[in-house]
């Protein structure tokens, strides 16, 4: 009656996914803060700096939306990483592993919940930006492509989140490793054009992965011309991050769950 069969794998993954979602909605940090922080940053840029920013013909809000989206994804990564780290270091994983459930369904539960959580906060961020005057010029194809790039980025950050959650000794370590991710969008083309930055910073900003991703999403949403090289770079970075963090996360997960 209670014996686990192979067919239970999907059901166990769903149960563990539901658990993660319940935990996410119950902890004020996870979705609430991840959403409030970008919303307030948007408000500051649009209403406070807005008049002073010189970014050409584009309106401030149209310009910063992709940067804020990446910021949102980075902000929500920290509490997710902590949640995963807690499970790995505080004995929860041992309880699950001593039960007749597949090891991978624990990971799958976390991973799928993380993606869903991020999709929700990105959608909410775009919703808020529409309220404060975001006027995208994208057609359906452009929207789908932009959504595709954002989803790839979400998956890349999700594996990074899992990797940090596994790698960090405790939840504080996980949290502090992830704060970097929340500040990196500022050192990109997300909020100001890179040619206004000092040289060293500009070289970094122009070559870090977020810039081509932001430029691609921006071009698609605003109906501007997207050159192939930018798009290729954006896709290249996303895929590279996914491969690196996926492999490292899986290696650590294996090591941590078989002693």
């Amino acid at each position: 009656m209670r014996y686990s069969k192979e067919g239970w794998f999907l059901r166990d993954s769903i149960t563990l996914f539901e658990r993660c979602i319940m935990l996410a909605f119950r902890s004020p940090g996870a979705i609430g803060l991840a959403f409030i922080a970008p919303a307030s940053i948007m408000a500051v840029f649009v209403y406070v700096f807005g008049g002073a920013l010189d970014i050409g013909d584009v309106s401030v809000v149209d310009y910063i939306v992709p940067g804020v989206v990446l910021l949102t994804i980075g902000q929500s990564a920290a509490p997710i990483s902590v949640r995963f780290n807690n499970d790995m270091t505080k004995g929860v994983i041992d309880r699950f592993r001593a039960m007749p459930i597949a090891k991978s369904s624990i990971l799958i539960g976390h991973v799928t919940a993380t993606v869903l959580q991020n999709v929700i906060s990105v959608a909410a961020t775009i919703g808020v930006s529409l309220l404060v005057g975001f006027r995208p010029q994208a057609g359906l194809i452009d929207w789908l492509m932009a959504a595709g790039i954002m989803l790839l980025y979400i998956i890349a950050i999700m594996w990074l989140t899992v990797f940090v959650g596994l790698f960090a000794k405790d939840s504080e370590g996980a949290s502090s490793m992830m704060t970097l991710l929340g500040t990196l969008p500022f050192l990109s083309s997300g909020f100001t054009p890179t040619d206004t930055m000092p040289v060293a910073l500009r070289i970094f900003a122009e070559n870090q992965p977020m810039t081509p991703i932001i430029n691609s999403v921006r071009a698609l949403l605003l109906g501007e011309l997207l050159d192939d090289r930018t798009l290729q770079l954006a896709l290249f970075w996303c895929v590279l991050m996914i491969v690196i963090f996926y492999i490292s996360a899986l290696l650590i997960y294996k090591r941590r769950t078989t002693k």
Partner: protein
């Protein structure tokens, strides 16, 4: 499956090392079905390592361990159908309610009537009135009770409790003892670890003493007390100087001193000859004896003598 056997757990020659640290150095244990078994040992003795091996979390380096005749390494999946593990630290989800915690575990065990099961366990563990409150509002004792209730959701026949009362206040500790007895009365085999002698003495049908990775003694509480020579003579002196002098004279007897009350606990074979010998030696140097008491060894005496842990002179 193992048909008529009455043995729930068999461990033979179990070894485990972490790098150069030999945690287990050939452990043999046998646990009867339906009994309460206590693995007694101080911090770092290797208790948790044994529990982790039995609950399929880590692999031993050598030797074998079987649960209900199933090998914990080769048949780990089947073993997991029969066991539940409650670790040293409560692994409950703080943000969820007690009942939600139970329902998730119930879902993972594929229990069809998990709501009824959860309610039953909440009542059994006296958590009904907080069932729908978040665990973050629970006391330490309530958390631990919920933790163990979660372990019972799958109705496993073998329950591992790793230091179930460590860190609990006396009242919660007593409640936990009652829970362990209750589990046993439901027919479960309970394998618990503890640092507390009175706990093992009160709860366990069978005790094994683990010290530095080997079992140094095992038996029922009564048997353990009997493996010692019958008598402990307790002699109280006027002052520490007398105590030291007397101790020096009696150095061929296993001895333990309690300086706070200037008392020596001398282990003898309880023969009249030994009594006379001890008293004669002390008389010879004219030390006054304040109080003289022959007594039955407690489990604590047994333990301290077994591990040769004497409080050394400074």
């Amino acid at each position: 499956m193992s048909e008529k056997t009455t043995v729930a757990i068999t461990i033979q020659g179990l070894t485990k090392a972490y790098k150069n640290n030999k945690v287990l150095r050939g452990v043999n244990i046998s646990v009867q079905k339906g009994s309460i078994f206590a693995l007694l040992g101080s911090n770092g003795a290797g208790k948790t390592t044994i529990v982790k091996i039995l609950s399929t979390l880590i692999h031993p380096d050598g030797g074998s361990a079987e649960v209900l005749g199933l090998d914990v390494v080769k048949q780990a999946k089947q073993v997991r159908n029969h066991i539940s593990l409650t670790g040293q630290f409560a692994t409950v989800d703080e943000q969820l309610t007690g009942k939600e915690n139970l329902l998730i575990i119930g879902a993972l065990w594929h229990v069809s009537d998990r709501k009824e099961q959860a309610d039953k366990l909440l009542e059994m563990f006296q958590l009904t009135n907080v069932a729908n409150k978040r665990v973050s509002t629970y006391s330490g004792g309530m958390r631990r009770r919920l933790d163990i209730a979660m372990g019972m959701m799958g109705q496993s026949s073998i329950v591992f409790l790793d230091e179930p009362t460590t860190g609990l206040d006396p009242q919660s500790r007593l409640a936990m003892w009652n829970i362990v007895k209750l589990m046993s009365s439901l027919g479960k085999t309970v394998f618990l670890t503890t640092q507390y002698l009175d706990e093992a003495d009160y709860l366990a049908d069978y005790i094994a003493v683990l010290h530095e990775g080997v079992i140094i003694a095992d038996g029922t509480s009564e048997e353990l007390k009997k493996t010692l020579p019958q008598g402990i003579i307790q002699i109280q002196f006027n002052n520490e100087l007398d105590l030291k002098k007397a101790k020096a004279l009696l150095d061929e007897y296993p001895i333990r001193d309690d300086k706070e009350i200037n008392t020596l606990n001398i282990q003898t074979d309880s023969s009249a000859k030994a009594f006379a010998d001890v008293l004669n030696r002390i008389n010879e140097i004219n030390i006054e004896i304040l109080k003289f008491t022959p007594k039955q060894p407690t489990l604590e005496d047994a333990f301290l003598i077994l591990i040769g842990e004497k409080k050394e002179d400074v």
